[in-house]
């Protein structure tokens, strides 16, 4: 199989309301990614775009609309989507573009401008539910997270305070991220527990913020990557998996689809003992319990045991298994597709030793980024190594 590397990355700040249009955000990220590896758009053979539901940007066929900003003028261009999993899927899409042998250098862009849904992007989530059997109940996004979180807590006897440690860690980590929307170096578990109850067991500070932003990375095939940079970061494994849409017909306590995606990626990367072989993790953390849920699905924690890891500090930046050193979605922000690709950019910078104030000590060699989406249904996983 052709080896594929990440050779460049760029991102905009994640902000609550951007002046920039979606096209302009995409362009800024794309241009930065190209500049970071001293390429121009002429060097790019194809473009892959990730953006989640069109409702947010408020444009039908949003991929087409964003294509010029993404650098796709007169190039092969495709948009992929798997809901919230899109941000970590779109580099997989880039990977298969290159690994197939059809292209040598591919630009991968992820964009979300959630502020275009007015007054509040949350309302867009009504329409992710089944139009006939669920939507008439007027569900919202908080429902599914709250239902899943409660099931997770009940099944394993987990407390809200344990889970709140994740929000504290990530928002503190994000204080070192120059693009972050909600970094807070002084946040405490009490702050999280005392914040407004939105949908018990979910409080306001358990949740990542609605945001606008874009991220881009450049992928290249081995022989090209080694010419472009002396620090290529290899995509060693990819995995994705989609569970049934009948989400009320399965146990929400454990994300088996994340496990299936992770197993695919581990196998491709030749990883037998993920807990020893993965040095940094960026699991998807739109809500704090999700980080824990996903660490278990990724087989990096036993079922129900991830909360203890965060409480014990194992997942701190200087812990044994740094988790979301970027600050994650909880801290940096959650422009859906862009947030996932931010995690790829973070692993890229961490493995190259370029993460500045956020640098994980000990020269990590291998990292994993993961996203999740749809009706608690899809897992996307990328393993990168240097």
């Amino acid at each position: 199989m052709r080896k594929v590397a990440v050779v460049g990355a760029g991102m905009t700040k994640f902000v609550r309301r951007a002046l920039e249009t979606g096209k302009e955000l995409s362009w800024q990220a794309a241009r930065m990614a190209l500049e970071s590896c001293e390429l121009t758009i002429d060097d790019i053979d194809a473009v892959c775009l990730g953006t989640a539901p069109d409702s947010f940007d408020g444009v039908h066929m949003n991929g087409e609309y964003l294509s010029d900003g993404s650098g796709a003028w007169r190039k092969p261009f495709m948009r992929s989507y798997v809901g919230g999993g899109t941000g970590v899927f779109v580099p997989i899409q880039g990977w298969y573009h290159v690994a197939s042998g059809l292209f040598d250098i591919v630009l991968v862009v992820a964009e979300e401008k959630m502020s275009s849904y007015y007054p509040h992007a949350q309302a867009a989530f009504l329409t992710i539910f089944d139009h006939t059997t669920e939507r008439p109940l007027k569900p919202n996004l908080l429902w599914i997270f709250a239902l899943e979180m409660n099931r997770y807590m009940q099944t394993y006897g987990i407390t809200k305070a344990e889970i709140a440690h994740v929000a504290v860690k990530n928002k503190r980590n994000a204080a070192d991220h120059p693009c972050a929307l909600l970094g807070d170096p002084n946040l405490t578990v009490e702050d999280v527990l005392n914040s407004e109850v939105l949908a018990w067991p979910v409080n306001r500070l358990d949740v990542s913020p609605v945001s606008d932003g874009a991220v881009a990375v450049v992928l290249a095939v081995e022989h090209v990557a080694t010419r472009i940079t002396d620090k290529p970061v290899w995509i060693e494994g990819v995995g994705w998996n989609l569970d049934t849409a009948h989400w009320t017909n399965r146990d929400l306590a454990y994300p088996r689809y994340v496990e299936f995606a992770a197993r695919m990626a581990y196998e491709m990367a030749g990883i037998k003992e993920p807990r020893r072989e993965i040095h940094i993790v960026e699991p998807y953390d739109p809500f704090d319990y999700k980080e824990l849920h996903h660490l278990e699905g990724l087989l990096l924690a036993d079922r129900g045991k991830a909360p203890q890891m965060v409480v014990d500090g194992v997942t701190q930046r200087d812990g044994d298994l740094p988790v979301c050193p970027s600050g994650g979605l909880l801290g940096v922000g959650n422009p859906i597709a862009a947030a996932g690709l931010m995690k790829i950019a973070e692993i890229f910078w961490q493995l190259r030793g370029e993460a500045g104030a956020r640098q994980v000590p000990g020269q990590p060699k291998r990292g994993l980024a993961q996203a999740w989406g749809d009706l608690m249904q899809v897992g996307t996983v990328v393993i990168m190594g240097r």
Partner: protein
């Protein structure tokens, strides 16, 4: 971030910047209206609800009863064998006390969305609905519940023909 990059683009606006016209904006709204064909299985499900009945479907290959009914079993990809009338009682699999409506309005009295495992369906097979007519603090995972139906004349063949699920009286 990379320590190689000095400046990150992205211009943050406040709500006031837009409301006060410091920054231009355009409003629009989609007129997106649909009439989704219900088809065989969901059509029958809705017809059942109108009669005060929750219908499931049985897969003889997987020996599983699912709800709502569907024509194909997603696990073995064999056609579902038959409809199965289920009970209108069940067990709370998980729930939330939600103080925010779908369009992000705050409410004092919480809505109680829940996954209800329906009696007669296979374990862990349930539907999304709401728990009601109960003090929210009483709701718990494992609680036995029963459907509260609209009067027959008011039913239209919709999931909302069930007003909510409420505590089953037999529970001590």
């Amino acid at each position: 971030m990379s320590d190689q990059i000095a400046v990150y683009p992205g211009t943050s606006l406040s709500e006031d910047d837009i409301l006060e016209g410091k920054v231009l904006s355009i409003h629009d709204k989609l007129d997106g209206r649909y009439a989704w064909d219900t088809g065989i299985a969901i059509g029958q499900y809705l017809a059942g609800l109108k009669e005060g009945l929750i219908l499931g479907a049985y897969c003889a290959t997987c020996r599983k009863t699912v709800v709502p009914p569907r024509i194909v079993c997603e696990w073995c990809f064999r056609p579902m064998t038959r409809y199965v009338p289920l009970k209108d009682t069940g067990t709370v699999n998980t729930f939330s006390l939600c103080y925010v409506t779908w369009d992000v309005k705050r409410i004092k009295k919480p809505e109680i969305p829940a996954v209800i495992e329906i009696d007669g369906a296979s374990p862990l097979h349930g539907i999304l609905h709401k728990v009601g007519e109960i003090d929210p603090s009483e709701v718990h995972v494992g609680m036995r519940v029963k459907a509260v139906w609209k009067p027959p004349a008011e039913r239209e063949g919709a999931i909302t023909d069930i007003i909510c699920f409420t505590k089953l009286n037999t529970e001590v």
